[in-house]
């Protein structure tokens, strides 16, 4: 849940008090109250509007079950980065506009009574870019999921790594993926929802690594910006390039799910994504509940992996999974705002 600081005005007031939203896909004028009731999906063309982290949590988790963790994490400015504004100014502006402290929240909750550790990103905060705070939250969520053996569920919504933190933001790829590798070795499942947009360093790290990857229709999901891709081949990109259906066809998504079905499908999936129970060594019961700081977990983890997992081989090639579902081409929507925030 986004933090509400007293000095911050609620997000709803930050917007001009407009009652109507124009669908960027079909141009239909939509009454905002009605749009909220249909989970912010355009009734005439099925365009899925982006959701804030708060709306996403309300939509997917059992009401009142979400307990946020580490709400007080805030970015620092390790490089003293200044472009046309200073980085702290940009953060302050984003905090004012969104009421969030950074572009992700994590915590625990339930979906139809099934416990999950959940981390949700918000594209509204600096393009959902991943700096140290987002990386830390994803990592802590994964570590908590490992320690409690509860499945991890991450909702990605990001243009990529946060340039203002330089290579520190690049290192968040290694940090989050490293934590996920441990989760995987311990046999705790990870469900990844790639929402619009998931690009750059977020796609190329934790978001793509779900044991089950799901996405909403027509979400922009890709590694490099479309302009770069188009430039390298100097020809038109295939229709539907870097959209959910494109990734589904090429075998990188398990399911493309309409928002109205999302919660029930996630609930069903969680019925299978259950960590097999293991005996916890007595030495771990006293001591830090997360088992984080001490220097021992690795051998513990590898033993654990041998106990709960069959010998595992890396599934490198996933490019052959051609699905039969046709790509549904959609009118191009303006992507300029995404374009600008995409980076490796």
């Amino acid at each position: 849940m986004p933090i509400k600081l007293p000095s911050f005005r609620p997000r709803r007031d930050a917007y001009p008090p407009d009652l109507w939203t124009k669908c960027p896909s079909c141009g239909e004028m939509l009454f905002n109250k009605q749009l909220d009731k249909v989970l912010r999906v355009c009734p005439s063309c099925g365009h899925h509007f982006r959701l804030s982290a708060e709306a996403r949590i309300e939509m997917l988790l059992d009401h009142g079950s979400f307990a946020e963790r580490d709400a007080g994490l805030e970015s620092e400015d390790p490089l003293g980065f200044v472009d046309q504004k200073t980085y702290p100014d940009r953060i302050a502006a984003a905090q004012l506009a969104t009421g969030m402290r950074d572009a992700a929240v994590w915590g625990t909750g339930t979906i139809d009574g099934q416990p999950v550790v959940v981390c949700v990103m918000d594209f509204g905060f600096m393009g959902g870019s991943m700096g140290a705070v987002v990386g830390e939250k994803v990592t802590r969520a994964a570590e908590h999921a490992l320690a409690s053996r509860v499945p991890l569920f991450v909702v990605a919504a990001s243009g990529g790594a946060r340039m203002q933190e330089g290579t520190f933001s690049l290192m968040q790829l290694a940090k989050t993926v490293g934590a996920l590798e441990r989760l995987r070795a311990a046999g705790v499942p990870f469900l990844s929802l790639l929402s619009d947009p998931t690009t750059g360093g977020v796609f190329a790290s934790f978001a793509v690594l779900g044991d089950v990857n799901i996405a909403e229709p027509n979400a922009l999901i890709g590694f490099a910006g479309a302009r770069v891709s188009a430039g390298t081949i100097a020809q038109e990109l295939p229709p539907g390039f870097q959209r959910s259906e494109f990734l589904f066809e090429h075998g990188f998504l398990d399911r493309v799910i309409h928002r109205s079905e999302l919660r029930s499908e996630i609930s069903s999936l969680l019925g299978y994504l259950v960590a097999p129970s293991v005996a916890i060594p007595a030495e771990r019961l006293d001591g830090d509940p997360l088992g984080l700081p001490s220097f021992r977990p690795l051998s513990f983890l590898s033993n654990l992996a041998e106990r709960v997992l069959p010998p595992e081989s890396e599934t490198g090639d996933t490019t052959n999974g051609h699905g039969s579902r046709p790509v549904q081409p959609e009118p191009d929507q303006p992507a300029s705002d995404i374009e600008e925030t995409r980076r490796g």
Binding site: M1, K4, D36, K37, A55, M59, L60, L61, H63, G64, F66, E74, S75, E76, L79, F81, D83, G107, A132, V133, T139, A161, M163, G166, T167, F168, S169, M171, Q172, L173, A174, K175, G178, V208, G222, F223, A224, V228, S229, G231, T232, I233, Q242, H250, F252, R255, H258, E261, S264, E265, L269, F295, P297, L298, E314, G316, T319, Q328, R343, G344
Partner: protein, 344 residues
């Protein structure tokens, strides 16, 4: 950006540098912007030694291994067995071409997914054989084209990062030229990260950063300074551990001496790492990347659970409760089926 990817801009730059290498004053005499940009130019110098230029001096024997066993052989990545004195190691490196013809073959040093899947295959082999790994990073970025996206460049990078974070064998990383974002990090998760003096490491190319934050690629030098992307700056930030001084006016002036200097440091590090038990080594590697990133923790106000019914609850009341009990049989990507908007 596009020009750079096609190699045009870089040929021109290199031609200028080759025509008058003495025109550049020594680094120390220049202001930060000029100095940083000079280093970026040196890192991209067409005559900068690549892994295949370094190996004759750096190793006493090199046997190249090819192919990812899944799709093909990516010549932008060179991998194989090498002998350095009595030490047997596995070597992985990114290889740019020396001329246009070779650059086309090697795709300007930008690996496709099969390049990373080849290096993953060889790294797993190294782990099985108990051989340490030495990687050589020199990449503008992973290949951004549609074929890369189709074959899952993001997945390949994420898996490679994950594999390196858990490999039970010592890993020494040497950044010799450009450390370009995720394409570099995919082979740069190591126990020790070494860089040549004029190497650079960044989350995005300075041109890309400038065109997003300054709205013009002309500010690339300013962006390069802001991102602190030079090897000495990265060392000060703790992302690079060791910086190796380059001979003369830069590594391109003396390939053999550069290789000898790298060899000295790599051998020293291999011997240090060989003495560490594998469990500790992998744990320390995890801790190293786990700790990167700057944030602060503020005491957060207690989580407020909203009293009004959540969006999800209100929706669930609107919809038939039976729908929430299982995965529906309708195709997930369908757009024509909408939530119960007739009730709104």
């Amino acid at each position: 950006m596009v020009d750079r990817i096609r190699g045009r801009g870089r040929d021109a730059e290199a031609a200028r540098a080759e025509a008058d290498p003495a025109a550049l004053p020594p680094p120390a005499a220049r202001d930060p912007k000029t100095e940083t940009w000079a280093r970026v130019q040196l890192a991209r110098n067409l005559r900068r030694p690549r892994i295949l230029d370094l190996l004759p001096e750096l190793a006493d024997e090199f046997v190249e291994l090819h192919g990812d066993r899944l799709f093909g052989d990516d010549e932008a990545v060179v991998s194989g067995f090498a002998r350095i004195g009595e030490r047997r190691v596995v070597v992985i490196g990114q290889q740019k071409g020396a001329d246009t013809e070779e650059n086309i073959r090697r795709n300007f040093g930008m690996p496709h997914p099969e390049g990373y899947r080849k290096s993953m295959r060889i790294m797993e082999l190294a782990e099985r054989l108990g051989l340490p790994i030495v990687t050589f990073v020199d990449v503008p970025g992973a290949h951004p084209g549609p074929e890369s996206e189709e074959r899952g460049i993001a997945e390949a990078i994420a898996r490679s990062i994950g594999l390196m974070s858990r490999l039970r064998t010592p890993i020494v990383v040497v950044i010799t030229g450009e450390g370009g974002s995720g394409g570099a990090l995919a082979i740069a998760v190591g126990d020790v990260v070494i860089a040549l003096e004029n190497a650079v490491y960044s989350v995005i190319s300075p041109e890309g950063c400038a065109s997003i934050l300054w709205r013009t690629a002309d500010e690339a030098a300013t962006a390069a300074v802001a991102m602190k992307m030079t090897a000495p700056d990265q060392q000060a930030l703790g992302i690079i551990d060791i910086v190796i001084a380059e001979p003369g006016a830069g590594a391109h002036t003396d390939h053999a001496e550069t290789a000898r200097r790298i060899r000295g440091v790599v051998v020293e590090q291999l011997d240090l790492l060989a003495a560490i038990p594998l469990d500790e080594l992998v744990e320390a590697r995890y801790r190293r990347f786990r700790a990167l990133g700057a944030y602060r923790e503020i005491e957060a106000p207690p989580t407020v659970i909203p009293e009004r019914p959540g969006l999800a609850d209100r929706l669930r009341n609107l919809l038939d409760p039976g729908r929430w009990s299982g995965i529906s049989t309708t195709p997930a990507g369908r757009r024509d089926e909408l939530p119960a908007r007739d009730e709104v």
